[in-house]
């Protein structure tokens, strides 16, 4: 089964699937923004924890391989990125670690180290929050949510159709690659490239033909220009706004209060022999 199918299955079997998609989106975005706005490290740690809890609840503690891989990949990228930031500190400040690596000057200061940590934690908080959202909201629900805030119909329907056809086309593409293999399409790298190109062209042609036939079929089924949802998820109630505002304000003040509480450089200093 392709990864896309797994994500889709995941979203539909999530416990949070019937929560209002707009509400979820609002909540997640506000938490993200607050984490970016405050200077304290505590807030993104808190939002990260909230993200993990939501993900665990949504997937019923069974985090599938694909999600774990996505998180793992994100963490690795963050580590590399943050690592780069941490070693490029301002030259006017005293260095915790000074070194030269090939043509590169490593100048790690307390400020740069803390900055790096802040960025890292904010980033993984963002990842977990967005994944909690994605793993519990199938795309049609999202499109329905956009429609309810009067996003142009063409865009939302386009999203749903792309989503639906992406599966079919992917299926077709993979089957064509299998067929190429059977006709020795992988016998050499030039041949393999030609097979790939052929499969892509074939999938494209298939999509055109499918489009034509689907247009006729949609017309026959009295398509009115939008896809009605049979069991619409709940629309955003006032409670979402209340909870989101409450969390947002609460976290903001928490940020103000705990600013400077965690100084990663000083915390980790003894391990590295700084200070």
């Amino acid at each position: 089964m392709s990864e896309q199918m797994e994500m889709d299955e995941l979203a539909y079997s999530s416990r949070m699937v019937n929560w209002s998609p707009l509400g979820k989106l609002l909540f997640v975005l506000v938490l993200l923004i607050i984490g970016l706005v405050t200077k304290s490290l505590v807030v993104p740690l808190v939002t990260f924890t909230i993200g993990i809890i939501l993900m665990a609840y949504s997937t019923n503690m069974k985090i599938p391989l694909i999600l774990a891989l996505a998180i793992g990949e994100a963490i690795i990228i963050m580590i590399i990125g943050s690592g780069m930031i941490s070693i490029m500190g301002s030259a006017d400040e005293p260095a915790l670690w000074d070194a030269k690596f090939l043509w590169f000057t490593i100048h790690m200061t307390e400020v740069s180290f803390n900055n790096a940590w802040q960025i890292f934690v904010r980033a993984i908080a963002g990842v977990t929050l967005m994944l909690a959202f994605a793993s519990s909201t199938p795309i049609p629900h999202l499109a329905h949510a956009f429609r309810s805030i009067h996003c142009p119909v063409e865009i939302t329907e386009l999203i749903v159709l792309i989503y639906r056809y992406a599966f079919l086309l992917l299926e077709r593409f993979l089957t064509m690659l299998d067929a190429a293999q059977c006709r020795l399409g992988y016998n050499g790298s030039m041949t393999a490239m030609r097979s790939y190109a052929g499969a892509m062209a074939g999938t494209f042609i298939f999509s055109m033909e499918l489009a034509e036939k689907s247009e006729a079929a949609l017309a026959c089924r009295n398509y009115q220009g939008y896809f009605p949802i049979y069991h619409p998820p709940k629309s955003m109630s006032i409670w979402w706004i209340i909870i989101t505002v409450a969390f947002g304000v609460g976290l903001y003040f928490l940020g103000e209060y705990t600013e400077g509480w965690i100084n990663m450089a000083k915390l980790m200093g003894p391990w590295f022999g700084w200070y």
Binding site: M1, A180, Q181, C182, R183, L184, G198, G202
Partner: protein, 385 residues
């Protein structure tokens, strides 16, 4: 289990870790040089089995053997196997890679790294076999479903495999085209190619196959001759299938005492003769003329005083010759059966036959003669002799 050219031993396969086992300790063998039909309802695992036998998918457990040796899944070995074993997928759109017909048919032979002249020769031959030579330069997008199916068959034929696996080759084809596909399969087998076909059409496979393999729930529930399987209604029902109509009619009439159960007729003609009690009538004579692609038909008929008799055709080289000379036969489809029927009716008939297909062409007549249902004289004529 006898050793066939392709064998699966306790193969287990599922598409995803938590998913159901599509192949569940499947043990199956495909006999070499024979025509085998793979039957089973949707979800029994037919297409998956083909993909596993062709090393497209590696089984989670169990071993796949090709020609007595287990598959190593090394690139070189797989390539070697795929030069011998070809699959024809059910949906032709899954198999088309190039914009023009001749390019797509050439795809396989080019990948075999054959010289250009050889590739072109194979493309021409293959297109002729499936009757699409006029569409050589045509873009594939313009072709109908049936035409595309024929082009993909040509693509597979151009690889000249020794084992041909076909997944529902007649699905979606109109009856005439379906018949042509079956004739091609028959012709390939007469040249020694092992042909395996999966189908729902029990009528079609009954008259064609030497042996059947029935899949159910990821296992092979029956392997062998078709009749014992179809005689057990519980097995047939469990497998999700229906019994072929010729078989049912034979059984019905034998239960009534109108005839013996055996020998089992495989075609309508054989059935009709068996139940008709006509052993003492006047029969016509059947002339089988071996027509190679470069034989001119009219002069041959003249010189053997066969003009004016009903004519039927059978086999690829005959059709090529037909095309070339413009001769129009009485029976374009189902030549052997129609000619046999004519003889039963008391008239002579001429069957223009591909030299390699004579044995198959005679099968109904031989059935009638050897079981005493009638006595049709057969004369084989070789224009080149």
């Amino acid at each position: 289990m006898t050793d066939g050219i392709l064998k699966a031993d306790k193969v287990v396969y599922s598409y995803s870790r938590k998913g159901p086992k599509v192949l569940n300790e499947m043990c199956i063998d495909i006999p070499k040089g024979k025509k085998t039909a793979l039957l089973g309802c949707n979800g029994a695992g037919k297409s998956t089995l083909f993909s596993v036998l062709n090393a497209l998918y590696k089984p989670n457990d169990g071993v796949v053997y090709y020609d007595g040796k287990s598959l190593t899944y090394k690139h070189k070995d797989i390539i070697k196997m795929r030069t011998d074993v070809s699959i024809l997928f059910q949906n032709p759109n899954d198999m088309m890679f190039k914009p023009y017909v001749w390019q797509d048919v050439a795809f396989g032979p080019e990948n075999l790294k054959l010289p250009k002249e050889e590739v072109q020769k194979r493309v021409d031959e293959a297109l002729f076999t499936v009757g699409m030579e006029k569409y050589r330069e045509s873009p594939i997008m313009k072709l109908s479903y049936g035409q595309r199916k024929r082009v993909t068959l040509a693509g597979v034929l151009a690889m000249e495999p020794s084992v041909l696996i076909m997944d529902e080759p007649t699905a979606g084809l109109d009856p005439q085209m379906a018949y042509e596909v079956m004739e091609i399969a028959e012709q390939l087998n007469s040249k020694g190619v092992t042909v395996v076909m999966s189908s729902h059409d029990t009528d079609l496979t009954y008259s064609w196959a030497d042996e059947i393999r029935v899949l159910d729930g990821g296992k092979c529930m029956y392997a062998g001759a078709p009749e014992p399987f179809y005689s057990d209604h519980r097995m047939v029902q469990k497998a999700g299938l229906m019994r072929p109509s010729v078989f049912m009619m034979n059984k019905a009439l034998s239960d009534l005492g109108r005839c013996d159960l055996e020998p089992f007729p495989k075609t309508q003609t054989q059935l009709a003769v068996k139940i008709s009690d006509c052993a003492d009538r006047e029969f016509g004579k059947l002339y089988i003329v071996k027509v190679d692609r470069d034989v001119d038909i009219e002069p041959v008929l003249e010189s053997n005083s066969l003009k004016g008799k009903s004519t039927g055709v059978y086999g690829i080289s005959t059709r090529i010759s037909l095309n070339r000379t413009g001769f129009v036969p009485d029976f374009y489809y189902n030549g052997p059966e129609n000619c046999t029927m004519k003889c039963l009716d008391g008239h002579d008939a001429v069957l223009l036959c591909d030299p390699s297909m004579v044995a198959t062409a005679r099968s109904s007549v031989d059935f009638i003669n050897s079981n005493g249902y009638g006595n049709i004289t057969v004369q084989e004529i070789d224009p080149k002799a």
